[in-house]
Symmetry: C2
Subunit: 232 residues, 2 copies
Amino acid sequence: MKEPISEQIVSERATIGPAAASFSDAEREAVYRAIHSRRDIRHFRPDPIPEDALERILMAAHHGPSVGFMQPWDFILIRDLAIRREVKELFNREREAAACFYDEPRRSQYLSLKLEGIMESPINLCVTCDPTRGEVVLGRNAAPETDLYSTCCAVQNLWLAARSEGIGVGWVSILKLPQLRRLLEIPPHIVPVAYLCLGYPEEFTDQPLLQSVGWRQRIPLEELMHYDRWAK
Amino acid sequence: MKEPISEQIVSERATIGPAAASFSDAEREAVYRAIHSRRDIRHFRPDPIPEDALERILMAAHHGPSVGFMQPWDFILIRDLAIRREVKELFNREREAAACFYDEPRRSQYLSLKLEGIMESPINLCVTCDPTRGEVVLGRNAAPETDLYSTCCAVQNLWLAARSEGIGVGWVSILKLPQLRRLLEIPPHIVPVAYLCLGYPEEFTDQPLLQSVGWRQRIPLEELMHYDRWAK
């Protein structure tokens, strides 16, 4: 079933305020708040996402940067529960397979973590990349992988826009892409980049889940800094 | 020369406001304004970037999402003009090479566009990805490329944070990565993902450059939407 995104957002969205104007302190803090309080969400409330909010966050993704203005992304909105059940089955197999690589007690901890909300979230969204969009793409001659990089930047736009709407996003990376391609009938030349669950979260926690359960800690930024060249 | 990022940002940055609180309409609009008025900047003013603003945008990148909380990124801040001159030389060769793939009048138009601000911007920044950071990374078993995807999401965080600071970012993709690796002495297993120019822009324009010069138009979002599966 085709559910067209409403006309008003198909036209170029007007920039909110003049593009050149500087941000007030409050506006700047709002951007940082979205960045610092964004979480990977796996616990969803069942409430549906309003159409207008969904359109705004998709439009935010579509305004991501792209090499040569290539806009290589497509968006597959998945509401059908039968398809999602099959995706969940893929996830389950992959989760078990990945558990084989951990020793105890890490394995039990891994298996105890809830890592997706495929069935509970009101919407699943697959963001793909079409490497054939535009034959000679400006800026892509030296680094063809920039089409995938652009698509990831679009996903991050969507993630932050969703956070500002109070909507949670979870990226399910525990999926084999060839099987996902088959389930969603994605053509062989199109790359599924992100499989996302979207919905209102039970909460936005203060820390990432893997940090709060002690799985892994944040690296001090200083350890990641280099000056002029790699060698410190 | 080592120029340590100051101590106060090395510790975990406190979330601005409680993580769970919803965004006001004004805060939400600020996030959308950053997303819609972000541009790829190639014309820079010479003014330096204040240390505190630089630290905030680097910390924004470091708070990007990452598979298994892997945080695979590193940041090489490049101020040295001799190194940047060599990077610019790489760019020049690659720009000429890429021109070979266009016919006239496209070729002349391509060569007329200013596509980087390597020498004029006060800071260049190379964001890299370390695929070896964490031996068994949670969620990366099925899709090892998610380390690169995480790094791109971090770049987009940086790009939006910079926009809210009035700082422009340009992503220079017209560079061969092996040569860039040599210039910056990056180890063979580390992937240079993004080479960025940072500085105050001459302006934030209403539209992307490639749109305003008629190189390529924005695709209507509706054409990119699919429902439940790829086939429409």
